[in-house]
């Protein structure tokens, strides 16, 4: 390349750069104005989480790790943490096994794909409170589950299904299973069907083909869906609030009590920071797996 052309290109770039310089910050301004309080709020959460708290004086400025220590050692909080992880684990595993065949079907649906996607996404975008109410009706003493139990003679009176951990788990599976299916279907759609045909032509049974070709190739989708569902389940608030009804203490409901009932803001802040840490680590892993998947295919 001759130097004259190089200079020409350089000048053009510089000109473009100068043009965008004033334009871009001006366009970002309204959004930044809206989001600045959120950043400020998080900075405050982090700072408050190191403060002291006195039942009489309220919050006392300090630099202490006590609140974080309590998140992991206070019996009630530790139990909430364990319950959160247990519920999220159960929800994630069930979502993976129930959702995988659905993702396979969507990836092979052809012209029905749009319809299936719409059906998958509709409950996801309806008010979570309304979905929780649906589960209240289903699991309630006059709901279909109890009338089946009683009609079949398995139970003499209505079983108590509402306000249990089971109710929360059932709602969360329903709420989050689309987030397992979507990344799985996206990965499955990118698998070259010729690979399956090749395995079958070489004499592999369908089961063998699935376990040795399809399953390993869909691993990025499995990991991404698992991380996403785990993150969403552990930060869910409405399901434990409405369907747990005070009997199921998870991190989010404990945070609500600490912030609004005991008003122990430093403790609530530490709980929030721990939850954000957990969720951001999971989501970062999710983003990393997805971007790596995109690059390799």
């Amino acid at each position: 390349m001759s130097s004259a052309v190089a200079i020409g290109v350089g000048v053009k770039h510089l000109k473009k750069h100068l043009q965008t310089d004033w334009f871009a910050p001006a366009l970002f301004a309204p959004g930044i104005l809206v989001l600045l309080p959120l950043v400020g709020a998080f900075v405050m959460l982090v700072r408050y989480s190191f403060n002291d708290w006195d039942p009489m004086l309220g919050m006392v400025p300090a630099w202490t790790l006590e609140n974080y220590y309590y998140v992991f050692t206070d019996p009630a909080q530790f139990k909430g943490l364990v319950t959160t992880l247990r519920i999220s684990l159960v929800v994630t595993v069930v979502c993976l096994f129930v959702g995988y065949p659905v993702a396979v079907a969507i990836s092979q649906a052809g012209r029905y794909r749009g319809l299936l996607m719409f059906l998958l996404v509709t409950p996801m975008l309806t008010d979570v409170l309304i979905r929780a109410y649906g589960w209240m009706v289903i699991l309630g003493p006059n709901g279909p589950v109890n009338s089946l139990l009683m009609a079949s003679g398995l139970s003499s009176g209505p079983a108590r299904l509402m306000y249990t951990e089971l109710a929360v788990v059932l709602e969360l599976i329903h709420e989050n299973i689309p987030f397992m299916i979507l990344p799985l279907a996206a990965v499955l759609e990118r698998i070259n069907p010729a690979l399956n045909d090749a395995a079958m032509n070489l004499g592999a049974s369908p089961a063998r083909t699935f376990f040795h070709v399809t399953l390993p190739l869909s691993r990025p989708g499995i990991i991404a869906g698992t991380l996403l569902v785990f993150a969403l389940s552990s930060s869910a608030f409405v399901a434990p609030l409405v369907l747990g009804g005070g009997n199921v203490s998870v991190m989010t409901t404990l945070m609500q009590q600490t912030m609004l009932t005991t008003l122990n803001w430093p403790q609530g802040s530490a709980q929030s920071v721990v939850l954000v840490g957990l969720v951001l680590v999971l989501l970062a892993g999710y983003g990393w797996v997805l971007s790596r998947g995109r690059r390799t295919t």
């Binding site: 930044i32 299936l116 998958l120 309304i130 989010t252 945070m255």
Partner: protein, 275 residues
Amino acid sequence: MKLHVTRRGLLLTYVTLFFIYLEGPLAVIVLSSFNSGQIVRFPPEGFSLKWYGALMDLVRNAPDMKPELLNAVYTSLWLGVASTIGAVIAGTLGAYALQRAKIPGTNILRQLFLLPLLFPQIVTGIGLVLWFSAVGGVPTWMRLLLGHLIISLPCVVVTVTASLETLDRSLEDAAMNLGANRVKTFLFITLPSIQGGVLAGAIFAWLTSFSNFTVTYFLFSGEMNPFPLWLYQYIEYYIDPGAAALATCVLLITLSVLLMINRLQALGRVVAVSK
């Protein structure tokens, strides 16, 4: 060959059952709203529209405990519209700048614009409680509006970004070469080309605001009680099918809104990008 057909049939049966399960809770609400009895029961005892009538009464003469329904709906409506307008302006400009700006720090800004999606909503709610108490003197309507603006902004950013990615940039270059300045090019070339994404984002943002529970829960006050909070208080204390009738109305609104978005931009795509 025969085996292959049975396998397909099995998968089809499984998927059908799955979608019955997935739409089940919504169907149960709709069906139990037509119950003629006094309490929510499924299967229903008989068919009746009386709970829709009761709902109308509730709206018309607002007796005893529940006079807040209309107020709650009004609050949620204006809150939704106001935060949508704000989110559309800030989100469209932001998404455009994110795609075009070559300034350092664009990547950090991209993370910032999607931050409300990454944060657990309960943390956004709690954080804003602390922020507002530190700032002091912010009226409830402003707290709610800012909270809703924050959570609906990424909806617009996501849909507009998706539209911008399919936009043919040579159109903009042509306009600029013909002497239009950047503002004119944006208004007359870019904006009309991405209007589908902007509209989808606006509807998506409105839906997010209208149905948000978690952030609202931490910011509302007695005098200003948005609809999801009202519904929560209602279903905590009443087991009559009135709530089911109300939920059915909201479901109908949601479904029509989703059909609208689906026409503008494939729903699956919007959600896949947003999460």
